[in-house]
């Protein structure tokens, strides 16, 4: 007997003895929503929650310029199709690369990619493979800037689950990469970005 057959047989034997199998509960998705977090909703609600998890909310291209200047960024990953959009907001002397070269992983100070949408309730950015040509570009550099369409905001986690993209890889990003493994002390930028920013476009 294969392991598959053995497992299914053992499950069926156990399950057959269940006296009162629990029914599948129907519940309203509204009950999972945090009204207090959602607040008035919209982008101001998103901003509040995004900043609460230490996200950098960039309101204008000027803010982007200021961030990159402050962080002394020189080289960044940015897919070809976004370069015209961001170039006007870059400080002088910045080099944009449209490919992420693995052998030079530490040369990239920042990555700019397009987010699919965002969740107001939790300050979450939603990325998917079809819009992130190279996952490393949104992950390896110290700074990640997600460009989000103003029209793409989702209100809650429940809505975002309902509208999960078809993409085989979808990732929700809620703030910079972090750990509290060492004595419970919060450190940002463990394996992923230490600065997680977003810019509405």
């Amino acid at each position: 007997m294969s392991d598959r057959e053995r497992i299914f047989e053992a499950i069926r034997t156990a399950v057959a003895k269940t006296e009162n199998p629990a029914p599948l509960p129907e519940y309203s998705m509204d009950s999972t929503v945090s009204i207090s977090r959602l607040g008035a909703g919209g982008w101001s609600g998103f901003q509040k929650n995004f900043e609460a998890v230490n996200g950098d909310f960039l309101e204008t291209g000027e803010d982007l310029k200021a961030l990159l200047t402050k962080e002394k960024a020189k080289v960044g990953y940015c897919p070809e199709n976004l370069q015209d959009l961001v170039r006007p907001h870059l400080p002088e002397g910045i080099e944009l690369r449209s490919n992420f070269d693995r052998s030079k992983i530490n040369e990239y100070d920042f990555g700019i990619t397009k987010a699919t949408s965002a969740i107001a309730e939790t300050g979450t950015l939603i990325l998917e493979d079809s819009k992130t040509p190279d996952r490393l570009g949104a992950l390896a550099p110290w700074i990640h800037i997600a460009l989000v369409d103003k029209s793409s905001l989702l209100d809650t986690v429940a809505t975002a689950i309902k509208s999960l993209p078809k993409d085989p890889n979808v990732i929700w990003v809620t703030g910079p990469s972090k750990t509290a493994d060492v004595e419970g002390i919060l450190i940002e930028g463990v394996h992923g970005p230490g600065i997680q920013a977003c810019l509405l476009v």
Binding site: S2, R6, I7, F8, A10, I11, T13, V15, T18, P21, A22, P23, L24, Y27, M29, S31, T32, S34, I35, S36, R37, V53, N99, R102, I105, T124, D129, S130, T132, D134, R135, L136, L139, V157, I161, K162, L164, D167, P168, N169, V170, I171, W172, V173, T174, G175, P176, K178, T179, A180, D181, V182, E183, G184, I185, I187, G189, V190, H191, G192
Partner: protein, 467 residues
């Protein structure tokens, strides 16, 4: 000193370890409480609903496992099944062999701890590295996690700094930020060199076959950006029926585990990467692991399989806080482990861990904080009963013999006589009782004066007066 095994571990803990475990778990409990109840209007109602969803899934697990398998295959994943720890390890090895993979990154997976995957692969010469910071430190130390969410809750920064120094990760420096940066640099080379990455899964939706993996550090994401092959080890109980149930579970998991509305990275994987994407696995292998879960399903403790591994029960448990995780001598510590570990040990291992269900005051806090409302105290009682019936010696440790008591209690006249004669107890120097558990109990405690028989006399007099 108590002869309970868990107490012996607790007594041996150094003062600094006791403090870090206590502080870490207590702060986890406080954060959970604040975030869960500030955020959700009916958090307790949600716990009940989530428990019902998981219970329903378990009660119909054959149907949902089949459905998940179908969905996974149609998404392009390869599905494998492993009956026990041995077959789990050999299946992982087969996949690695076929892919000619030697370097492997791994993100946190409790089921891999259960089956001893690291030891097995390292012995065969694979270059395998744990990428979660805490798990990486444990790997360097040859140590094991003492908490399901905070694996190194029992270690302090000085210890970690010494470990890093010893393994050539820079000179001694105990700043948590420096420790983290060093791990970041070290790990990048591994992520890029690895041909395969091993992950767990927090949930899997039967409806869509989506695997859901949550981390805060981004290590599983990095593993999945670097490697060509993904192997996901999934306990057969990790299934939820619908995608919508993922929203319910995610809303409870982060808040219960770390007091976060959502963990930083919540990844939904339904197959290998799209062909036109640069990074990401070209193959996704899902191994459904049994390792005695079907025995648990068939026991009177099925409810424990609802567990979503948030760690809230260990954070709140007064016994865990004193004893730390290694006292449970198994992969799963705390109240969860006190139920699950003896069961996963199977018929031959149960007796060895049969003392764990007694490592509880049955205060009920573990049930109150459980996001899937597992009646842990009830399950502990069922396992105490099992231990007693199977005459396991560890289950009997420190239990006073009840045979004489039950003989007396069954006879009204004996009972009356013993109540009266027990007044003699007041004259006994009981603090000097020399033997066994009773002696240990009375050494530090005094008893109130014995008043046996007074109630009966009072009732009798009332009856007389009424006439």
């Amino acid at each position: 000193m108590s002869s309970q095994i868990i107490d012996q571990y607790a007594n041996k803990l150094g003062e600094d370890v006791r403090t870090s475990v206590h502080t870490g778990s207590a702060s986890g409990t406080d954060k959970r409480f604040k975030v869960l109840f500030d955020d959700l209007p009916d958090a307790n109602g949600l716990r009940t609903t989530a428990g019902n969803v998981k219970q329903h899934t378990l009660d119909h697990l054959d149907k949902y496992l089949e459905q998940a398998e179908r969905a996974l295959i149609s998404n392009g994943a390869k599905v494998h099944y492993a009956w026990d720890s041995e077959t789990t390890c050999s299946q992982v090895e087969n996949i690695l062999k076929q892919a000619s993979a030697r370097t492997v990154t791994k993100s946190k997976s409790m089921v891999s701890e259960e089956v001893g995957l690291n030891e097995s692969l390292l012995k065969k010469g694979y270059d395998l590295v744990e990428t979660d910071l805490g798990e990486f430190i444990l790997q360097l130390d040859g140590d094991h996690p003492s908490h399901v969410v905070k694996p190194i809750i029992h270690k302090n920064r000085a210890e970690i700094a010494r470990t890093f120094e010893k393994h050539g990760l820079g000179e001694y420096n105990d700043e948590p930020e420096i420790i983290t940066r060093r791990a970041r640099e070290f790990m990048r080379a591994k992520y890029l060199a690895a041909e395969a990455t091993i992950t767990g899964a927090n949930f899997i939706s039967a409806e869509s076959g989506r695997l859901c993996i949550v981390t805060n550090e981004g290590n599983s994401r990095f593993g999945l950006a670097g490697a060509r092959i993904q192997i996901a080890l999934v306990g057969i109980e990790k299934i939820v029926p619908r995608d919508a149930d993922l929203a319910l579970m995610l809303n409870l998991l982060g808040r219960s585990a770390t007091g976060q509305a959502l963990t930083v990275y919540t990844e939904f994987i339904s197959g290998p990467k799209p062909v036109d994407s640069v990074s990401g696995p070209e193959e996704l292998h899902v191994i459904f692991v049994n390792n005695r879960r079907t025995e648990v399903l068939d026991s009177n403790c099925r409810e424990i399989l609802r567990c979503i591994r948030c760690g809230a029960c260990m954070n709140v448990c007064p016994v865990y806080r004193q004893a730390s995780g290694h006292a449970y001598r198994s992969v799963y510590p705390g109240p969860l482990g006190a139920v699950l570990s003896p069961l996963l040990a199977g018929a031959e291992g149960f007796s060895e861990l049969a003392d764990l269900p007694k490592a509880s005051s049955l205060c009920g806090a573990c049930n109150e904080v459980c996001p899937v409302d597992i009646p842990i105290p009830d399950l502990l009682l069922r396992l105490r009963d099992k231990g007693k019936r199977e005459k396991s010696s560890n289950a009997a440790t420190d239990s006073p013999p009840m045979g004489a008591w039950s003989w007396v209690a069954k006879s009204p006249s004996l009972w009356r006589a013993s109540l009266r004669s027990a007044n003699m107890l007041n004259l006994l120097p009981y603090e000097k009782i020399p033997f066994g558990p009773l002696g240990r109990w009375t050494k530090d405690r005094t008893l109130p004066p014995w008043r046996g028989g007074k109630f009966r006399a009072w009732v009798k007099n009332r009856e007389k007066e009424a006439k």
